[in-house]
């Protein structure tokens, strides 16, 4: 039998048994739509964790040991949103009898406030202003030095060897140990060593190729050390990988269950129409044609339902990608959501195409059971039993 005719029969059968088609399709549509949305939500969660973790201070690419004479304007490549240039040096801070070692970062307060979210983590006082003799320190250091906001701290390389005295303008706490221990900030204008080594924090536009930009930086400034966020935040990288694996398992499990559902429903549907298959067999339909007929029926049904599922899933993603889903109450104590707990679902080609692809693969597999059942039954048995 011609494939064209088989496809025509399948289409007509689905069209004219529309009630059964609608019920069967609903299962696939809801599964595909849910998984497109869930996959987009997983991507959105990953984005939020990366955005929160990199947006707080480090950026997507962190540069260090960059010679002072380097032209950092070269780092503004296509796909790069901001490049923050900082200087850093280890000093001792003391107030009265209390001494604490710190890594002092010299920053441009206006640019930092524009690109990072550290200033939002202020627990008392305020963030730095350009040109002021101020210091912005973490809460733990402030407590050890026993210095309040407005108090003065001295800065030097050795006790009593004072280079500068700064006023504590603000105290912060992020919940991230790397930032909450031994780190302090001052405006670059008052940094005691203006010719020190440069560090950079590079913020990329969404979807920019981190790896490519990293390679270009390494070529542009070979003596600098550049690292992308997966290298300096391996825990976050692992968490995101884990999230992907979990999502893949969920997708496979959902479609395995949906395919069992489709297979059972289709077998019932086939049993209901068993006599028709018996009649077709008496007319000399080949076993391969029977398989093609059932496979094309389920294939067509799954294909159309998956397309509708994509549209429904996309609509849900588009709706929530505008407003975001505020999970702050669930993430407020989580270090990977230090800035914001709002998740914006994001569609990618992979999460858009994987659910329908799985639906079609599992749907076709689901056609095998009814096909084998029909092939193995003799037409005489079918006609006698119905």
């Amino acid at each position: 039998m011609r494939l064209r005719f088989i496809l025509k029969l399948s289409f007509l059968h689905l069209l004219r048994s529309w009630r059964a088609t609608v019920v069967l399709s609903f299962m696939v549509i809801s599964a595909v739509a849910s998984l497109v949305f869930l996959a987009s939500l997983a991507i959105g969660t990953n984005d939020a964790m990366i955005r929160n973790s990199t947006g707080l201070f480090s950026g997507h690419i962190s540069g260090s040991d960059i010679p002072p004479e380097s032209d950092t304007s070269l780092l503004t490549l296509p796909g790069v949103e901001h490049v923050l240039v900082r200087r850093q040096q280890r000093f001792l801070l003391w107030a009265g009898e209390n001494i604490e070692p710190v890594l002092l970062m010299a920053v441009n307060p206006l640019q930092e406030k524009q690109s990072t979210a550290l200033w939002k983590k202020t627990v008392s006082g305020r963030y730095l202003k350009p040109g002021e003799d101020g210091i912005y320190i973490n809460q733990e250091t402030a407590e050890r030095l026993q210095v309040p906001v407005g108090g003065q701290v001295h800065l030097g390389n050795a006790p009593r060897d004072r280079l500068k005295t700064l006023t504590v303008v603000g105290v912060y706490k992020t919940g991230i140990s790397l930032l909450d221990q031994g780190l302090a900030f001052c405006p670059v204008d008052v940094f005691p060593l203006p010719d020190g080594l440069i560090t950079t924090a590079v913020f990329l536009q969404d979807g920019s190729p981190t790896g490519d930009i990293l390679q270009q930086y390494r070529r542009l400034i070979p003596s600098g050390k550049f690292q992308a966020w997966p290298e300096f935040m391996p825990d976050l990288k692992q968490l995101i990988d884990l999230n992907f694996v979990c999502m893949a398992i969920v997708m496979i499990l959902v479609f395995a269950l949906v395919s069992v559902g489709i297979s059972c429903a289709f077998l019932i549907f086939t049993l209901k129409n068993l006599r028709e298959h018996g009649i077709m067999k008496t007319m000399g339909i080949m076993p391969v044609d029977t398989v093609l007929l059932l496979v094309s029926q389920i294939g067509l049904l799954t294909l159309c339902a998956a397309a509708l599922g994509i549209i429904a899933g996309m609509a849900a993603v588009l709706l929530f990608s505008q407003t975001g889903i505020d999970l702050t109450s669930l993430t407020s104590q989580n270090r990977y959501f230090a800035v914001s707990g709002i998740i914006y679902p994001r569609l990618t080609p992979a999460n858009l195409l994987t659910p329908p692809l799985l639906a079609i693969v599992f749907g076709l597999a689901a056609a095998l059971w009814p096909s084998l059942y029909i092939i193995r039954k003799s037409p005489a048995d079918i006609l006698r039993s119905v």
Binding site: R275, I279, M283, G284, A380, V386
Partner: protein, 223 residues
């Protein structure tokens, strides 16, 4: 010509071994019509199924134009049914999700009759069976008599050499049934199609010239 040579068939069920057919032998000349008569359970349908290669006899041979159909493989059997046989059943003959024309198209497609030739044949069948204008109707919209006429039209659409009908008039009133049988007999004679009908309808039995009576799977009288 159909030759039935010492055909036997047994079934095993919860009631033990049941002899459906025991040593049945007879011939039907090409283009002639025969009736398999007998009460319910006499073995008519089983014999008809064996002749149509829907099931295999346990012993004996069935020759269709000299070819032993009881030894055919699955593919050859399907091809034999496709080309040589037309079936009409008691009821629910049509594919309910296809229109009348699409039902008629089915055996034609299977036999490679396509395009204009197919359209012409469908029109010809609809006209012959007084069903012109019914092409786009769905089986659910038709009466029992109309459905059986379409089932018959579909069975002879590809001009098979053998038409097998299992109680074709059982679900029809006597007038409609008689009209249908007259039409079947005349068309089969025109097409030189051998017709074998399984029935217990006495009026129908009287219309055919060759009668095989079955009782408990055995032949009672052969003419």
């Amino acid at each position: 010509m159909i030759e039935i040579l010492a055909v036997s068939k047994k079934y095993t069920s919860g009631r033990g071994h049941i002899t459906a057919l025991a040593d049945i032998s007879f011939n039907v000349e090409k283009g002639r019509s025969s009736v398999l008569a007998g009460k319910s359970g006499s073995g008519k349908t089983t014999l008809l199924n064996c002749i149509g290669a829907l099931e295999k006899p346990d012993s004996g041979r069935i020759l269709c134009n000299g070819r032993d159909i009881s030894t055919l493989g699955r593919r050859e059997r399907a091809l034999f049914q496709r080309r040589e046989i037309g079936f009409v059943f008691q009821a629910a003959n049509l594919l309910p999700w296809l229109t009348v024309a699409e039902n008629l198209q089915f055996p034609l497609e299977l036999n490679g009759i396509r395009g204009k030739k197919q359209e012409r044949r469908i029109d010809e069948l609809l006209a012959t069976f007084d069903l012109s204008g019914y092409g786009k109707a769905m089986p659910g919209e038709l009466s029992g008599g109309e459905i059986q006429r379409i089932a018959f039209a579909r069975a002879i659409a590809h001009k098979p050499s053998l038409l097998l009908a299992d109680e074709p008039t059982a679900s029809l009133d006597s007038v409609t049934g008689n009209q249908l049988i007259q039409l079947m007999l005349s068309l089969c004679a025109d097409q030189h199609t051998t017709l074998i009908i399984a029935t217990h309808d006495t009026e129908l039995i009287a219309m055919t010239d060759h009668k095989i009576y079955l009782k408990d799977g055995r032949m009672e009288t052969g003419i």
